[in-house]
Point group: C2
Chain length 226, copies 2
DNA sequence: TTTAAAGTATGACAAATATCATATTTTTAT
DNA sequence: ATAAAAATATGATATTTGTCATACTTTAAA
């Protein structure tokens, strides 16, 4: 059982507000998991009874819509916590969490987190601020979905991916999504997504090499994203 | 200065978790305002420095999108609090709040609310749960926007309005929105909204009488909303 | 009250997007 | 290594949605 105190990613989440004692306690009760690419950490409707701290790998949070398509609501990075909202709401998960890459995650039971939450004001305040930030993002995201065209949303999403998840050495987006997943992020049909990517490729704003996508002209892309 | 203790709407928000003493204190530092239909309570980007408690009347929370249209993100009822999120995030308001009817609201300064928040665990827990509920709703709303057609969203919205804000004696929706506002809720052009309303009217799922909208066949409407 | 302005309604058309079909490429499993 | 399956790509076409024009109706202001 590794020590939470030495975990590099802890500085990126509310966990950084925990005391040494609390970190030791957490290390004792946590469970570590390896999740393979494509596997779920938890599914919509499940009672998770705790939170997952992402040590390595990125996952998508999805919701199955009425028409049977998976909408990707957000992507989550190492350091972030999963399942905070449903823990506080005392509800089953509203979204599924599925690994986009091989992942390492630690599960911390609800009882433990809630104790920290109640006794450590800095921790609870940080957690609250995170959730408030999520709410702002969700509202903004909703407005984008409602008001922007598919092309604008695609441009916006590509920039988001580069800004938040970085590039490989060859300049391509580090996060590799399938066309279907990318379509699921922007809320469109897979074919429409592919078509618009081709278009951006032809006009040399991006380049495509199999699953690799590189942004060539970020300024123009930003202008398209309106 | 009226007493918060006697305010009927306080049971509908986190304020119900305050003690008698806290309520007295709040009554002393609050400011009451009358807001006329169409007037803003606060605007996107403003620093509100406190929260507003809605005593009477309904307001819309809107965000100006890049294309210049106002998207209605949510509607807020008496009893609910405005500006909680930005207070906790310590950020300017992300959304504007505009009265849909004549309103009575009370402003409570941030300093006071944060004191309650830090000393009264029940209050802070309730506030957090409210925000978590908002986050779930926002995520769900986003998926609707991304995956549903305009017609589905219109049907969904009409049902939402009836379920959450009720009907007048004549059966029409109590909340009267202009066509432009309704379009702003579902994220479409005003003309498209009008056209689809006419269509629903012709097929007798709803009836239109000026600004009054009545749902005639809720079951069919629900089926359309998918 | 009359006039202007705003809101509602509808047609005609254009643009955006989805759907279906099919070909090609890549990945996966045997 | 090879076959099968999945993912990507693209054309053809239908449907949805937006835009512009214009008429009518209601509301608000002078």
């Amino acid at each position: 059982m590794s020590k939470c105190e030495q975990c590099i990613v802890r500085q990126f989440s509310s966990i950084k507000a925990l005391t040494k004692d609390e970190l030791l306690r957490m290390a004792e009760c946590k469970t570590s998991y390896t999740i393979k690419k494509g596997e779920p950490i938890f599914e919509e409707g499940e009672s998770t009874n705790g939170v997952y701290c992402i040590k390595d790998g990125v996952c998508k949070m999805t919701k199955l819509s009425a028409n049977g398509k998976d909408q990707i609501v957000k992507l989550v990075k190492p350091g972030e916590l999963l399942g905070q909202r449903s823990m506080i709401s005392e509800e089953p998960a509203n979204l599924s969490a599925v690994a986009l890459e091989d992942m390492e995650v630690c599960f911390v039971p609800k009882s433990e987190i809630m104790q920290f939450f109640n006794q450590n004001n800095q921790f609870s305040m940080h957690l609250m601020k995170t959730i408030c930030g999520d709410l702002k993002e969700a509202d903004d995201h909703m407005v984008s979905m409602a008001q922007k065209s598919v092309k604008e949303r695609l441009a916006e999403t590509l920039i988001y991916l580069e800004d938040n998840f970085g590039k490989n050495d060859d300049g391509s987006l580090r996060i590799q999504l399938s066309r279907e997943e990318l379509a699921g992020m922007i809320g469109t049909a897979t074919e429409s997504c592919i078509r618009l990517l081709s278009e951006l490729n032809k006009s040399e704003l991006i380049s495509l090499d199999g699953k690799k996508i590189s942004i060539l002209d970020k300024a123009k892309l930003k202008r398209i994203s309106a």
